[in-house]
Subunit: 243 residues, 2 copies
């Protein structure tokens, strides 16, 4: 038995000093994606503070243990503070931690991702010079802060899986959208063209879209406008082996 186990827990907790050893820094970061102007965009902020001053990166920041009670509050608060965006639903992506990713020292970031309908963003605090939705096609020419490019790639990989097996990408569209729009978004996420017949069929089979009765008219035949039905987020395009 160690000495420690001889004392009772209350005493132990009273004497416990969280700063007795060097803990990693902890941040949260979010890779938020939307579909706007016919392209896939990711929300970035221009840093106005050290380190990586002047670079663009994901909205994120340290966890303020006195302000928030859990990770979800932390990430939502940071996104709203830095970009004015309220993210509807965040999915945890992965955590990255090592002694190299941040010059300030050993750091861990818990990353989140989401697909959301487009909404305007704005820089809201002094540490952010600008906030913009950036076309992912422009990313190869950019040098992002920290390992944020890696996080964005992980987010896109996750979205790709969703595009292959679900209609979650519909959440990146406006409330009412057409099949061709949805298909185009899926093609952007997957990176290759899809057969429209197959695409329609599997979505129709799932019965997750409601016909609004309205049409979008551009060039050619007008397209039927749909909206998502309830429960759409769970549907996966794979045979249900669990019945």
């Amino acid at each position: 038995m160690s000495e420690q186990s001889a004392m009772d827990e209350a005493t132990y907790l009273q004497q416990y000093d969280p700063k007795q050893f060097d803990s990693p820094l902890v941040t949260v970061d979010a890779a938020l994606f939307t579909y706007h102007d016919g392209v896939l965009k990711v929300l970035l902020v221009e840093r106005a503070s050290h380190p990586e001053l002047g670079k663009w990166g994901l909205p994120g920041g340290f966890i303020d243990v006195h302000r928030v009670a859990d990770l979800t509050q932390a990430i939502n608060g940071v996104i709203e503070d830095k970009t004015g965006i309220t993210a509807p639903y965040l999915e945890q992506l992965a955590s990255y931690g090592n002694n190299r990713r941040d010059k300030r020292g050993w750091s861990v970031t818990v990353s989140y991702t989401a697909l959301m309908a487009y909404q305007a963003c704005e820089a809201r605090i002094a540490t952010v010079a600008d906030a913009q939705w950036v076309d992912v096609a422009q990313l190869p020419e950019m040098t992002l802060a920290f390992d944020h490019m890696t996080i964005i790639e992980a987010g896109r990989e996750r979205l790709k899986q969703k595009a292959l097996y679900s209609i979650v990408p519909a959440y990146a569209l406006a409330e009412e959208f057409t099949f061709p729009e949805l298909q185009h978004l899926h093609e952007l996420l997957i990176g290759k063209p899809l057969q429209k017949r197959s695409f329609r069929r599997r979505i129709e089979q799932a019965n997750l879209l409601e016909d609004t009765g309205k049409f979008r008219k551009d060039a050619g035949r007008p397209a039927i406008l749909y909206r998502l039905a309830a429960g759409a987020e769970q549907y996966r395009f794979v045979r249900n082996l669990e019945d």
Copy 2:
């Protein structure tokens, strides 16, 4: 412009004090599973230190920023120190962080999971009273430390997906195994019986098993012993939409 951006980065980093504010505690935890004696087991340790002294929980611990360079090193080191187990391949599961899960304060844990061939374990350090592979069927009667039950459930959910769509569970078996063994493990993970004809077919189609030419003889007709071929970990049982 903030005052901070007026100074150069080197000066900023020199003056930066990681203890200037209260950062969450950071731990890593692993839910390791194996198949042994015909049941699914998870590796647990009995805590010999506060808090949660005396309870069983996942092997894990604080990140020692002076000893390890990244999260992977951290989790592998902790597992080996506490249980004597060397985990072959760890997959990151999720991170859990809030101000309630650990009485010592706001804490974040980065959790990992793995399926591995059975190997003996042992308590190796003073803070661990015992280390055991525990049948998951016994978990409902146990009260685990912290939120470790939640992490185990998340791990099992991940394994269930793998059992549905891959042959990754084969990594929890011995090097040579039979189809009936593999099927039984999949059934344990999924929680319901599978049709042996379908099960065999999709695994055979994938061409990821090698016939060893040997047989396992018990009651009834002997079963062919197979081993995993290279590349097996990537295979997923879904139509490949990406060709």
